[in-house]
Symmetry: D2
């Protein structure tokens, strides 16, 4: 495999830091450029970045100079951890200039010709890129990954959709603070407290799974018909979003059968061999009190979604609890997996 | 009003401590006896009790001697904060012996002739006591109050039931650690973590509101027809249970109208004047991010249920977030309010 | 007692909020004016202020309009919870204009003619105000109270100084987040973490007790000769600063004797009757594991300093652990007590 | 290198779990036997153990059966994570029976012929084993490692002792909850709280460094003459003990010079090549607010001690803040390093 040269936009944000972390020692990708906010431009990443992760900053990143912009020559793949407002204008410019942009921001997720992908759930949606190039005249591409709290539930819903069809979902999330970046949530708001609100989050939880689980039909995605009600709360956890789900399927789903479908879920073959794809994409825990953020977010180096408490629901079909590491599986790791799939396909084409 | 002599069973438990706390300076009630576990019997309460509350232990309690049992003469009203297994046998014995027992335990809540009451929601259920005396031949009485996490949601459901009828409810709770007593949950289970399971809790959340909101019909309670799905999680909060609710009513409930019914809810008049009844039983907050445990559990000295984020639900009618102080409104405070109502009625009768 | 009209500068800060809280229902003082930052001026306090305390905002404050400045007529006593930079220029202006300013900021604490007072420790230092008026030509006055983490240790050192003399002190503080205001410390810095540094804090801990414990000599204060080494850390606590002290006295202090002096400490008589003076200024706990923030900060409604673990020190004389509620005893409450003493004296003079 | 067969006593405790974790994939050691408490004997480790670590349980351990005792044949090296009372009798028996016991318990640390070792600080103390064998007639050996909170400060004191000599140390620790095992500290004791007391801890902090830093003289260790005052507190942190130190040296130690000695500290050469010896044994951080538990405990995979805030002390010579991962560097990791050194030496002898 040819190595790809990588740029990270917004590399000092928590999401950017997680990209920096996961790209250390990557077998295919080499980080060549990092950008940051104006007041940090020109500084070494190691000096400029207020590192927020528990894992140490990788050595390679310390001496990278923060830039303001990319030049045309810099990067085969550009990861964007920009704010939504910065992403809105900059990402299309970079795609137009020939970059393959993989974005963690929400700015373009809802656009019809922009794939919203989890490589292990809906890799076929990347076929939208043909339409995207045609319609927009871009030589590059823009791919988005979902909101961090959307990922875990969607990975769980996928095998249930395949097996039973989905009708309605109730979803209550207990979200970690890294999801709000740094400085993010004040300690006074989370010590001995819960904040039962995250701006814009419930809307994303209700709409993004419908696009991801939708059917690619010609040059567009037909959203899945599942309807979702979401409640989002912030809790005193550093990393790992928990979601409680009640699910109604089209065909009655019994607990044992549902558990088996969840436990036997495998991503498409072309994804399984990618460097960031974990051995187990979806782990089913049998214990009464799992998954938990501190004990389960490390599964599969943060890439395994963990589901537990699969049980009957008094009103719908089944209930369960889902956990996904929000900055790995719910962010940088899923961006990386998508980029790996794109790079793998391109290498296949050029071979 | 004649003063009543009070006994507290299980007075060293967290629930017992809260009873001890709330009874300090009570205008009608005087604590005369406290019981505790075998190894503490004979000690002064102030020495024996590992006080778990943030509020200081009241001075009156320090010198009370912990007993093993009550004698027949001790108490007009007995508050029971016993474990379920101890309560199962002891509470009926005390009621048979002529005591009015108000119990926080779950041992007898489901029995047909045992009222499960929130004095400000279903005071009429106390009329079951006639049937109870008749059937059991007791000279005393046994009254129960609900599980701590049931109280907040039920107070919110009551005015909606009155106005619109209730059909289905989804309920996800984020519960405080005092609900598990002391020592209760290990710190290692809640630092940087959530435990998405509380043994037996979801069953109570699904059944107890149906009894409380049920209709007294002759000598029995017809459970309300509302059906409930519950998810219960433990979070790093000391006091104050949060619940996220999605509610389907019999008649379509619109957000503005529902909010008005919530805001204008008043308990029955005989309850409003009781010493432990707060000025506002149910407060509606307009802010996007309320209620919160640390900021709202103190409302009405812990007796006000706070609801916020009343908004439309994409699948059902309305959604909201509810908070109630779990050891006051969800426990000792509601027991006290029930006892006050009983004492008030008895004083009225004897007058 | 005549009532005094009060203004609070910086009323939306955490310190300002605590002043607002403590002044509710005050027997002598009525809040007439509150000021806040530019972008909030003109708004009602209840709408403008992001309330950070666990106790509810008092009703009286909700409708007060935030001003930019005081007019000359507004207030007999001005409490200043301004930032140091704002306080630096504004407080002297107000004192020059005739206001009695009691300041929580550190801007003027070190100035020779500005009293740094705890009313129950060094009320005689208020006599500096004569010199202050003379030297500065002010018709008003400027009084400061110490840094929040200084208060607890100083209250403990006072009776030891009186009994044994003080030579050297080692001091390690574990400080609550309200000390940093709001938004203050990010949750990501305190969840599963400790920050072993607070900018400027150790310098204050090493110098301010020397001034407070110093001897008033004519028109100046001779600093106490005690020398102090301080370590300051921020921990995941909302309110209540803990300090571990090792103390060397001039005359050898034995544990039992020291404990007795601590337990029998009484403030000067004129202070004991002030509305904010607690019944017990310094409480000595006998338990092995006290004081603790959550269990002890409420002592004396937050005004009692709690000391425990008084024991021999292998290198110096004695060791102990001290707790003081940082925003009450360590801030607003001590400011209030100082103001009460000033008002009481003035009323005595005018009577 | 020949592989060694390993047994872990008390393998279900938190310390035992960390041993299980660190021994996964060890290049020299293979775990052959694990023991646990009576009620778990016979069960598979994966089923019996309430795993408390954030890192997943290693696959190799899941199927090991918990035993009650070791047989004579089981293990070249026995790691003991037993309670002190169990260790008191069992460890000498095993050493008498020919096992090399490396113990994390405190039962035998103070005995004159039992080495208390950090392999990178005082490996020469292992020479006590000759005396131990001679005096006790054992064919095996008993080696102990220090209390978890002793390790970080001692690693920092070592190069200062070498360079300047040590006279007096003030030490205040902020300790993580894993140090108390599982269930350990109740959440109600640490949410919004600090417990300023850990039973027996201060005595260990004051005595153990003196033995470790002592001089081996013939068949005994002459304790270092440094005198220590310790304060120990428990804080809401999962892993990573912080210590604040004030240090007086025999020869005046200036900050820059002290920092250089700390930064250039290297363990003896025979230790540097051991599998568990980190590249950097002692890292000096230049930032104002480091080290911190969450951000620094992962340094060197938990084996690097991190020191920061090296600055002048107003009373003694220098002050600093130290962090060591309490269950890795402060426990299992140091036990492993000691065992590696023993095994390395034995292999050298037999070669």
């Amino acid at each position: 495999m040819t190595r790809a040269t990588i740029a990270i936009l917004g590399a000092t944000s928590v999401s950017g830091q997680r990209l920096v972390h996961l790209l250390a020692g990557h077998p295919w990708f080499t980080v060549a450029a990092v950008t940051g906010p104006d007041h940090l431009v020109g500084k070494a990443y190691g000096d400029a970045c207020r590192w927020a992760l528990a894992e140490p900053m990788p050595a390679y990143a310390r001496t990278l100079r923060l830039r303001e912009h990319l030049g045309g020559e810099d990067a085969s793949i550009v990861f964007s951890a920009l704010s939504d407002s910065a992403a809105a204008s900059l990402e299309p410019e970079l795609a137009a200039a020939g970059h393959t942009v993989v974005s963690l921001s929400s700015a373009h997720r809802a656009e019809a010709d922009v794939p919203l992908v989890l490589a292990d759930v809906n890799p076929d949606h990347l076929d939208l890129l043909g339409e995207q190039r045609k319609r927009r005249g871009w030589t590059g591409a823009l791919v988005t990954i979902p909101n961090c709290a959307v990922v875990g539930p969607t990975v769980v819903l996928k095998p249930l959709q395949d097996a039973f069809g989905l009708r309605r979902v109730f979803l209550a999330t207990l979200q970690a603070v890294t999801g709000a970046g740094y400085p993010g949530v004040p300690a006074l708001d989370l010590l001995d407290n819960v904040i039962p609100y995250i701006a814009g989050e419930e809307e994303k939880l209700e709409s993004e799974p419908r696009k991801i689980l939708g059917r690619l039909s010609g040059a567009r995605v037909e959203p899945a018909e599942v309807r979702i009600t979401a409640h989002a709360a912030r809790v005193a956890v550093t990393e790992g979003h928990v979601a409680c789900l009640s699910i109604e399927c089209e065909r009655a789903a019994e607990v044992g059968e549902a558990s088996r479908f969840l436990a036997s879920y495998r991503p498409p073959e072309e994804v399984r061999g990618l460097p960031s794809c974990p051995g187990v994409v979806l782990a089913v825990r049998p214990e009464a009190d799992r998954p938990q953020p501190r004990r389960d977010r490390g599964a599969g180096s943060g890439m395994t979604t963990v589901v537990g408490r699969v049980r009957a629901d008094p009103l719908l079909d089944i209930r369960c609890v889902v956990l996904a590491h929000n900055t790995i599986r719910g962010g940088a790791g899923s961006a990386l997996l998508a980029a790996e799939l794109l790079w793998h396909r391109r290498s296949g084409e050029s071979a």
